[in-house]
């Protein structure tokens, strides 16, 4: 409970201060997913992927929840050195705070998608909406787990921290968002949450592999929590 409360506190700090000195302020929360979905739509068109814009938006939102919670979570201990070395905040609170921020961003994206879907009427169906919510939750859980797993290595070995942004970009390029739906990685690597859910959303088939995805997401989450519970106190010596 304390972990959750402090995770929320740190997330609130990040959210409140993120757009300080910015002219557009929190409008960036809307502009970013829209701009990214538009860009992906045109890239997809150029690659002859026939996916409509609202599905690009949805796919990007779900992917972004995973990648953002995983990669900013991985850097969360290294980036909070002062707190890690001076306070007894449970180590899991740090990646958790990043996942909460990712969830808030993702929720904004989901609302945008919902409006878009209703206005265009192309994919306004309950199955897809439920699938999207499941994919969103699995991505969040898996991303948080992966962030927690990587947080200590990133605090200990700075090469990991330096390489992570690059890996995040690479992950997007390799994800089914850009690879398309028929021969995506998720068919071969269904245990990687964030890729599979996006696949499920894009193909509008949320049935068969959702169980695997949830199992993978919860496994990652459990491992990440366990690692930080067991070795989290080492962070104060490593950051």
């Amino acid at each position: 409970m304390q972990t959750l409360r402090l995770g929320w506190t740190l997330a609130e700090r990040d959210l409140r201060t993120r757009y300080a000195h910015s002219v557009l302020g929190s409008l960036w929360s809307l502009a970013q997913p829209l701009a990214m979905a538009t860009a992906l739509f045109f890239v997809g068109k150029a690659w002859n992927r026939t996916i409509s814009a609202d599905l690009w938006l949805l796919g990007w939102v779900v992917w972004n929840v995973f990648s953002s919670s995983a990669f900013s979570g991985a850097l969360s201990l290294a980036h909070n050195r002062e707190l890690v070395t001076k306070t007894a905040i449970p180590a899991f609170s740090y990646p958790l705070s990043k996942a909460i921020v990712a969830a808030v961003d993702g929720a904004v994206g989901l609302v945008l998608w919902g409006i878009f879907a209703v206005v265009t009427g192309v994919h306004a169906n309950a199955t897809l909406a439920v699938g999207a919510l499941f994919a969103f939750a699995a991505s969040l859980a898996g991303g948080l787990g992966m962030g927690a797993l990587l947080a200590l290595p990133a605090a200990r070995v700075r090469d990991v921290a330096v390489a992570l942004p690059f890996l995040a970009q690479l992950g997007l390029l390799l994800s089914p968002l850009l690879l398309g739906t028929s021969t995506s990685f998720s068919e071969h690597l269904p245990w990687i949450p964030g890729w599979g859910p996006v696949q499920a959303v894009l193909t509008q088939s949320v049935g068969s592999d959702v169980g695997y995805l949830w199992a993978a997401a919860l496994l990652l989450l459990g491992m990440g929590f366990g690692v930080l519970k067991r070795w989290g106190k080492n962070a104060a010596d490593w950051v």
Binding site: Q2, R5, A20, T85, T87, A236
Partner: protein
């Protein structure tokens, strides 16, 4: 169950260096323990182990009761958030619940003395105001066990007294326990019932506070010492350039190791008596010498025409800042002794006492006007 801390063979190693070496003990509710020792003795590392911030390399640690650690005032403050938002943020980091903070908000604001600025971003607060705000939040802690690391010596002298009294009042409540790390022996003496003296990570002595402090003081007072080479990369040396006699000229020299000029620098020296109690502050800024820039490897000299200290042993604390950011903080930068001498040319009407200041105001005596 009454709050307690129990540790057995507690050890912390950083590579080949052993910071805390096989410490064992048990402290119960109602006791306040002061931890003393030279810089690098392992005090703060030990406190971090007790706080649960860092894990021991070996040994066991157990405790019961709600534990709060205050290792630095204002950790986690964010300059872009307002004073009010930072109160909530910092309070929750320290373990307070939002409802507790809300209920105490007025008290926190009053104690800090910055009520009028609470809705301004913290970046517009002075460094002193930030410290006051941070301590005011911490003063609301209602934990069974409170761990404090040098946080009672922050702020100006009046605020130090105010915060000290606040902590004493908190600790006087039944069932509380405190572990206090401080170089200020006066603070330890007034707040604690027991003391633990650490040396190179090991227990040198523990027991009733008076006994431990007496032994510690005798070992470290070094009355003849007039120069020291502090273990800080910014400070090359702190020394008196002559032997010290009350009422005679004296010259203190602080040599810095700065490889580039310092912008808006300040050097604050604090004079303490043999009990570690505050006597007087010294700073070029408060004395009217406000500098924009100090040169590379700056050498700061203070000259007294007549040293206003009575016979006794003292020490100087030192804090070096640039643009209000702390570069060096040495609570005991230079212990020294002053020999007996005549401060007033015509002699003194009081027998010189230990550890005091000679003051020389302008005196006048006149008949009062009838009301």
């Amino acid at each position: 169950m009454k709050p307690f801390i129990h540790f057995d063979q507690l050890t912390k190693k950083f590579g080949a260096h052993t910071a805390v070496d096989r410490l064992s003990g048990r402290w119960e509710a109602g006791s306040s323990v002061g931890i003393v020792g030279a810089n690098g003795a392992g005090k703060s590392t030990f406190l971090r182990l007790l706080s649960g911030i860092s894990a021991p390399t070996s040994g066991t640690l157990s405790s019961s009761g709600r534990l709060a650690s205050l290792l630095e005032v204002g950790t986690g403050f964010h300059p872009e958030l307002t004073g009010r938002e930072n109160i909530f943020l910092y309070g929750q980091i320290l373990g307070l619940r939002r409802a507790e903070i809300r209920a105490q908000l007025d008290a926190i604001a009053d104690f800090s003395g910055v009520s009028a600025q609470l809705d301004l971003p913290l970046k517009h607060f002075s460094s002193g105001q930030k410290i006051r705000l941070g301590f005011s939040v911490a003063a609301q802690l209602r934990s069974d066990i409170i761990l404090l690391d040098e946080v009672l010596g922050v702020g100006d002298a009046a605020f130090q007294q105010q915060s000290f009294e606040r902590m004493q009042s908190l600790l006087s409540e039944e069932g509380r326990m405190a572990v206090v790390v401080s170089h200020h022996l006066g603070t330890i003496r007034r707040m604690c019932t027991q003391a633990l003296w650490l040396e190179a990570g090991r227990e040198r002595l523990s027991g009733p506070v008076a006994d431990v402090l007496e032994a510690y003081k005798n070992a470290y007072a070094a009355p003849e010492e007039t120069e020291t080479l502090p273990a800080n990369p910014w400070i090359a040396s702190v020394r008196w350039s002559n032997s010290l006699v009350a009422g005679q000229p004296a010259r203190l020299e602080v040599a810095l190791n700065n490889n580039s000029p310092l912008q808006r620098p300040n050097l604050r020296l604090t004079l303490f008596n043999q009990h570690g109690e505050f006597l007087a502050p010294l700073s070029p800024v408060t004395s009217g010498l406000e500098s924009i820039l100090w040169p590379k490897r700056a050498r700061i000299v203070l000259e007294f025409d007549r040293l206003p200290l009575m016979r006794g042993t003292y020490h100087l604390g030192l804090r070096l800042t640039e643009n209000d950011l702390e570069l060096a903080h040495l609570p005991v930068a230079l212990p020294f002794a002053v020999e007996e001498g005549l401060y007033f040319p015509k002699g003194d009407t009081f027998a010189p006492r230990l550890n005091g200041l000679w003051l020389d105001p302008r005196w006048t005596v006149a008949e009062s006007n009838p009301a």
